[in-house]
Symmetry: C2
Subunit: 301 residues, 2 copies
């Protein structure tokens, strides 16, 4: 467990050893079921993930959790709440929990999360639950990396279906109405069904709608079953395409990160990134011309 | 107006003319006040932006609006709601509204939004209101590009202050409690004040808390005043640092996008990106080794 934690940290920090670690791990990956769980803050994702973990543990499966919270980027650390909430599983060697904030610019978050998933996978954790705050582009990227994506909604959060944007609809394999003991739950379920009925056919199976009250463990066994059923049933045909999409996104993210790193180290360092930034901030040079100047020094054989 | 719309489209699409357009526009930029407005879906951002636009119009200022919604990435278009809502200003030549979905991976969204802001700025729009869904990394990047950032909250969205994550707190220059005629508004205001009192000193002025009911135009004049007061008062000292941070982020985003584009065109095309992706998806090569192979062909003089 300690070696795994350390490996994830090295990978997350982009340490020099990271590439070698991932290279070693890679042939052992591709076995775990990756479950994405996404929803707005306050939807009760954390509690639901917690209950799912308990469920899988009762089946003696080793469970990995990657909790992604880009909004903690600025405070630089994991959310205290996540730590507290997961304390039930903190001493269980069959559960590995990792909270992740963002890793700088440019897609670094989904790259780091994918790497962490690979390491957990190689270490034999299965399933791996990936929890994201489901609004931003990066989080959607992370969710897309999953074999099955559950979108978690909560009654009374918005005034209407407006909160369920098209993007969320398009990544959802399952909808979960959490806190479904609230009075507005029926209306949300009806709105959701109406929306799903009206949604254009895109060849994917229509997502099922499930109700849970995670705090009281209600509906969680059914959700756990639905996840399995999706993967072996309705979603089986998409699995290959998704894995391919994931491979492409990862390749581009890794390549881009390394390219920029290399160029900043060599081409830019010699004249100093600060000097360039000052010139741009002072409107003496635009970012495109500044980039062109650097690119002139990059040769592809 | 048509030329501007076309220029923004070219820039957004990364057309060959984009760099030349931005190069021309750049010396004319840096004059507009850029106001970021961010909040969860359903917070009423759109209505509030609409009211602020009306307010600035009554002062005969030409107003630009950039509405960023990454969740519409999958549907590929702007949100119908945005279009409908803004119809009041649609025929007003003193208002320019642009909705933006995501532009692919890797920070493309904040890059495209920054470019659009520059074009509006060069065209003489001032202020420019930038509306984002305030959870993901990309949206936070966009908000950070602003001279002043208002975070919009709404009572009763979450059960507690949990929804106001540390990251949001750290980007907020002003807090707006919209729909503040709801009964939970007082509790939210009290929670927020308590949180602000407890927040560690980071040298920035403590954000003010404002109440609005955008639908009835209540509190909007006060908010408009607060925006000006922040920029000339409490926020004046930060403006240079922010502009520098913005310049750095833009330079890196543009450089990264161009680098990757160039490499994909030349080094990768010859052997075919699909072949590489298939190998990664089949776990025959890891993304790091695949990237290394491409990078071996990149030489920096």
């Amino acid at each position: 467990m300690r070696a795994l934690a350390r490996a994830i940290s090295l990978v997350e920090d982009g340490a020099p050893e990271a590439a070698a670690i991932l290279r070693e791990a890679f042939p052992r990956t591709g076995r775990a079921l990756v479950v994405g769980l996404t929803g707005a803050p306050g939807a009760g994702k954390s509690t639901l993930v917690d209950r799912l973990v308990a469920r899988y543990r009762s089946e003696r499966r080793r469970v990995g959790v990657v909790a992604v919270d880009p909004s903690s980027a600025f405070s630089g650390g994991a959310i205290l709440g996540d730590r507290v909430r997961m304390q039930e599983h903190a001493t269980d060697p069959g559960v590995f929990i990792r909270s992740m904030a963002t890793r700088g610019h440019l897609g670094g978050l989904s790259r780091a999360a994918s790497d962490a998933i690979d390491l957990l996978d190689a270490a034999g954790f299965d399933p791996i639950l990936v929890e994201t705050v489901g609004v931003g582009q990066d989080e959607i990227e992370v969710a897309r990396a999953a074999d099955v994506v559950a979108v978690i909604l909560v009654p009374g959060m918005g005034d209407d279906i407006q909160a369920i944007k098209a993007g969320i609809l398009e990544i959802a394999d399952l909808f979960v109405i959490n806190k479904s003991d609230r009075p507005e739950a029926d209306r949300l379920a009806a709105d959701l069904q109406a929306m799903l009925t009206l949604a254009p056919e895109d060849g994917r199976p229509r997502p099922g709608v499930f109700r849970t009250v995670a705090l009281r463990d209600e509906g969680v066994p059914e959700l756990r079953e639905a996840i399995s059923s999706f993967v072996t049933g309705a979603g089986a045909g998409q699995r290959e395409r998704r894995r391919r999409d994931r491979a492409e996104a990862r390749f581009l993210a890794v390549l881009s990160e390394r390219l920029l790193g290399r160029v900043l180290e060599t081409a830019v360092r010699s004249e100093g990134i600060n000097a360039i930034v000052e010139e741009i901030a002072g409107r003496r040079i635009d970012p495109y011309t500044a980039s062109e100047r650097v690119l002139e020094r990059v040769v592809i054989r």
